[in-house]
């Protein structure tokens, strides 16, 4: 295989259809970028599940007028319960400190909240998270110093179904974009084949192999796919640095949202690159098979 020949054909092909090539690269990049975002959200969701579900499933908020006896009675009941895997106590001061940290980006909110506004609580991890009802029955609301028992799992379920929805929507848009990208690639390749029909006709007549004739077109598409993938990866890096790391810095430090670390981006980058190159190459190959006589 004559490398120079193939490469110069690829370069000429890409230059000749500059507008189509740019369109093809951009749609591919958007599609792959969204796909990467979807993957990152998916990773984030599983990180968050680890953070939240493991720590807290039920919160028992104590009344403002709870007595020391009531508090230690609750504590003993929790310690003795076979349903409870783990429990921690959070005082008013600790609750306020956590609140301050969570909302460090909104100083007015922190300033307008009195230090003792947040209730003390027991955070309870259940052996079986589904058994919330049992615990709730053991600590009736408004009795024995208990203000309210809340199933955090229920809230988390709703939160995660929201996040899953966001992930699914992102991936759905990525798929639609990918479809658009594939059609554009197919079109570009047909145009490229038309532009080079004199060359390919002669190649066919003098007995060049199918592979030799098709390779420049396939490489042309694969190269565009690779450039699109690199743009997409660049977009993810920029999004991390400018959006996730800056705007979401507070909640990330507070442990509400897991950080998007470089490892995750490094992990999905080859996936994106392979998807870009692979899809474009296959689209080109199929196009040549179906529509172009070579």
């Amino acid at each position: 295989m004559r490398v120079n020949f193939v490469l110069s054909e690829v370069a000429t092909g890409l230059r000749r259809n500059l507008t189509m090539t740019v369109a093809m690269i951009l749609t591919t990049a958007i599609s792959l970028g969204l796909m990467g975002t979807g993957l990152l959200i998916a990773g984030m969701i599983s990180d968050m599940k680890e953070i939240y579900y493991d720590k807290v499933q039920v919160s028992i908020f104590l009344a403002d007028d709870v007595t020391d006896e009531q508090r230690s009675a609750i504590e003993q009941q929790l310690a003795g319960s076979p349903e409870v895997a783990n429990h921690i106590y959070e005082s008013k001061d600790e609750a306020y400190a956590r609140f301050q940290q969570q909302f460090s980006q909104q100083p007015e909110l922190v300033q307008n909240t009195p230090a003792d506004a947040l209730p003390e609580s027991f955070r309870v991890e259940l052996v079986n998270p589904e058994r919330y009802e049992v615990i709730a029955a053991e600590f009736p609301n408004g009795q024995n110093g208990v203000d309210q028992v809340r199933d955090e799992g229920d809230f988390l379920d709703r939160l995660f179904s929201l996040l899953n929805g966001a992930r699914n929507a992102t991936i759905a848009v990525a798929v639609v974009q990918a479809l658009a990208a594939l059609l554009l690639i197919s079109n570009t390749i047909q145009l490229a084949a038309f532009n080079r029909r004199n060359e390919t006709n002669i190649m066919r007549l003098v007995g060049a192999s199918r592979w030799y004739t098709q390779l420049p077109f396939i490489l042309e598409a694969a190269l565009a796919g690779l450039i699109g993938a690199l743009l997409a990866i660049g977009g993810l890096v920029v999004t991390k640095v400018l959006f996730v790391d800056k705007t979401l810095a507070g909640p990330i430090r507070a442990g509400i949202i897991p950080p998007v670390d470089w490892g995750a981006i490094a992990f999905i980058s080859p996936v994106i690159a392979a998807a870009g190159v692979g899809l474009a190459g296959v689209a080109a190959y199929v196009t040549l098979r179906l529509y172009v006589r070579i």
């Binding site: 295989m1 004559r2 020949f5 004199n198 060359e199 006709n201 002669i202 190649m203 066919r204 007549l205 003098v206 007995g207 060049a208 192999s209 199918r210 030799y212 004739t213």
Partner: protein
Amino acid sequence: MIELQHVTKLYPASSRPALDDVSTEIDKGEFVFLIGSSGSGKSTFLRLLLKEDDPTKGNVIVNGKTLNTMSKWQVPKLRRTIGCVFQDFRLLRNRTVAQNVAFALEVINKPQRTIKRVVPEVLEMVGLEGKAQRLPSELSGGEQQRVAIARAFVNRPLVLLADEPTGNLDPETSEGIMLLLERINRTGTTVVMATHDYHIVDSMRRRVIELNGGALTRDQSRGVYGVGR
């Protein structure tokens, strides 16, 4: 060398066959004129030999290979043993004479060393030495056809197919092209030439196969264009 056995070709969307039960045999080293008016099936005949198209019925055999049963990936190998030339030359406009000829070797992976050696040789043979660096647009029609012949012959094919190679040329220029084809034929290459130029056919006195509405109506060695003309 070349054999057609009861070959019929019916193009889709056409009721009249382009070739109608044609049987003939052409031996190695022969020079054959394929004659007949426009639409009589000459180009179809040549296209079937190249496996550019498949017959509707019958067998085509070229260089000992039955084309009907040949798989797609073997077709390039077949075509490397066949050179072809057309009325419209089919040169690449943005490549020089030498590059046009070299192109045919490059795309079948011939070593650069070989290409450097044989391209000047074949250009000299067709009488274009000294014009290797010209673009096709800087050549006359006859010279362009010589480039096309050089490209078809440079890989020393067993068969040369020429579809009205003189169709765009004046009589004197055509005569030069015919001398060149004869010379190629003398190297042992089988030449099949479709034409309706009766001057050429009459002056060469070679085998004539005549098609008429797709049917083979005459096969005559040392023939002339029209019987009794």
